[in-house]
Symmetry: C2
Subunit: 424 residues, 2 copies
């Protein structure tokens, strides 16, 4: 990458940092007004956005991309409506900035508080969905952050069009339009360079496949909040209500198998295996779920379609109608299995025994632990955080779904009456 | 670095990860018992520790290290007493693990909580002070974390001796002694390798000079919580009580100039400059403080000893009896100066005007903002957090002094009665 491009990227990052001081001080009303202007901008520019999207779709025609990819990058009236609706929802959310909580009154009379503030500049690095441009930018704005977006090359024109709408909304509201910027270069060398700009960027959130995320994680000097994959478990305890357990396990797998909070491995206590498995297999077969398991399970289930499980399977995120099943001797075996093979995402215990539930909850330190509920509920909306900007399996700062509050941090505020430190 | 050493370091990191699951589940009583055993271990091994320290001191004799360095690495009876006292203090602190707070009850009946958990495995990378070995390990243990320590080569024997005492305390209490480990290799290549082990280590906390911290920050794939330096400001507002202001400014600089929360730059509102500066200079001269400033200040102060300030000086952390002074036109100029040159550490406003104070507090987003108090109070003990493991100017996870709570994170706990996710 030549020097000129590096200087351009650096200048853009610096102008975002400067703009971040202004947006950080914006009142709730000012921020909501910007969001309203983005909604009207999207409405007024419908045809422009769809045209830009057509240009992008034309340019990838020769690339032989798969249908799922093309589906993700295609916008239509319905998706634009959804983008608008998402902004309406964010307007209704509480402003996460400026909350001051009392920590303590010190013996010398100092009053100590913590006060929530924006993180500063957040960089979102994502792949094909152009609606992320609007969804992510709006969450960052509402939390008082400036944003540097780097979308995928395939959606370049669509993203540019949406960014212009957001920039106009900022300018019309009397704010520096550099509170949102897009890095117009999409190659990996440029990405590497962005990841060194820790002076101007406070946080990187990658959204995309595991290889993009690993690349970012390996090269970033800026803190990264991420999750590589979701290898989620359901454990059916010896004291489980079997009917409930089967429903939760099946729902955790099949309700939407292509997402990170779907179950990959079911662990069944040996005492309830022979009662559970035949019924379970009937359900799974009707849903066309492939099962990997060992001979012991094959015998109980008396099912020839079971695939012999391999050691690597326990770490796999199938993202499909496919899963592992294992019989465990006791609750500790289940916990040990999750510690060894899990990805710190979501685990659920099904049991009617309160002690087993508490033991499991207190022992397993994944981002979300469910008791008698489907793993599919680990999601910002379902847990009441409102829209989420991503999900974290990194334990630092945010663990689990990241809502508006997770886009802020807390500073100490200390109020005195002239206190000075005495020599010890 | 050869493969064998890499495999050894990796095996050590892996064994620490495995041990972390056990210490994470330890009760408050169990953890306090381990700490008590460490105290008796330190008492019983006084002579052994001092002998090991002598060996270290002998081995550096030819290295021509400065006195401050040698002073930091030298242990004596008093410092061992202090290490013991620090552990006594940590025993009295609340256990930060296992606190469950209600978040919400969802319309589908799910109860959502957040529960504090240990981070997992923390690596502390530090330089010459061997008392950090005990201080840091004990804070990590109390918060249920396993720890990988890498101290400086100069204190190798002393550190090893202290680690053995902690390991014995773990073993005697029925815990895996791998909850604390020391990387026995101190070169930078080994350090680089440690920083790639994100599978086994959750957080790196470097403690030392800026060059060590930058090295770690540049090479780490593991989240790092750090601060490079403290360029702290005091701003004397137009509505300040001048006597109070001078006392706070002088205290912020001279009470202990070699630490990160001492003031480096004083900003004075032009309306009070001519009243403030002559008195201030008298005080600073009596304390032998060198001042960097521009001609305007020289005229007001009528002082020949003032050094002409250079642009770079505004970013300097003098760590000495040396400072900058600048006259600003108004409070916004002061805020802009801090945004441009500050290090996000500690800033103080001196004013009797409540609006100015609130405006400054809400506009400046450093880790600690003081009103009418010395910058020297930005410290875990002074702010009531108890012992601190370090101070962070990275906004992620912890911002400001890091106490026991900052060594934990929060998982979601969701209690249901069989809820499954319905198709949309």
């Amino acid at each position: 990458m030549d020097d000129k491009i590096m200087r351009q990227i650096e200048a853009l990052a610096k102008s975002t940092r400067l703009a971040s001081y202004q947006i950080a001080k914006a009142s709730t009303e000012e921020k909501n007004n910007i969001l309203k202007k983005i909604i009207s901008g999207l409405e007024d520019s419908r045809s422009k956005i769809l045209e830009a999207n057509k240009v992008d779709l034309l340019s990838i025609e020769k690339k032989n991309l798969n249908n799922a990819f093309i589906e993700r990058m295609t916008l239509d009236e319905k998706k634009i409506n959804q983008m608008k609706q998402n902004i309406e929802d964010v307007i209704l959310l509480d402003d996460p900035v400026g909350k001051r909580e009392v920590l303590s009154k010190r013996p010398n009379g100092l009053s100590v508080y913590k006060q929530s503030i924006p993180l500063g500049v957040i960089s979102i690095i994502y792949e094909s969905r152009p609606n992320v441009t609007s969804d992510a930018a709006v969450l960052c704005l509402k939390s008082g952050n400036a944003t540097i977006l780097r979308g995928g090359s395939e959606c370049f024109n669509t993203n540019l069009c949406i960014i212009e709408i957001i920039k106009n909304a900022l300018t019309e509201s009397g704010f520096d339009s550099n509170s949102i910027n897009m890095i117009p270069i999409t190659d990996r060398e440029a990405l590497k360079f962005i990841l060194t700009l820790d002076e101007y960027i406070d946080l990187v959130i990658p959204r995309g496949g595991e290889s993009l995320i690993r690349f970012i994680s390996n090269f970033s000097r800026i803190p990264v909040i991420k999750h590589y994959k979701g290898v989620c478990h359901v454990y059916i305890d010896e004291f489980a209500d079997i009917q409930k357990a089967i429903e939760i396990a099946v729902n955790s797998k099949v309700q939407r198998p292509g997402v990170c909070n779907s179950m990959e491995t079911l662990l069944v206590h040996e005492k309830v295996a022979s009662e559970t498995l035949p019924k379970l297999f009937k359900m799974l077969e009707s849903k066309k779920v492939k099962v990997h398991a060992d001979n012991k399970i094959k015998e109980i289930a008396n099912n020839e379609n079971i695939i012999q499980v391999a050691e690597d399977d326990w770490c796999r995120e199938y993202l499909d109608l496919e899963m592992n099943i294992k019989i465990v001797n006791n609750i500790d075996d289940a916990i040990n299995h999750i510690e060894k093979y899990g990805s710190l995402h979501t685990e659920s215990i099904v049991t009617d025994n309160k002690e087993s539930a508490e033991y499991f909850i207190n022992s397993v330190n994944s981002s979300a632990i469910m008791h008698n509920a489907s793993t599919r509920f680990n999601d910002g909306n379902e847990l009441g955080l409102g829209a989420e900007i991503g999900i974290s399996t990194t334990k630092l700062h945010a663990f689990g779904p990241m809502g508006l509050n997770e886009l802020t941090t807390k500073k100490f505020v200390i109020l005195g009456e002239g206190q000075i430190k005495q020599n010890a």
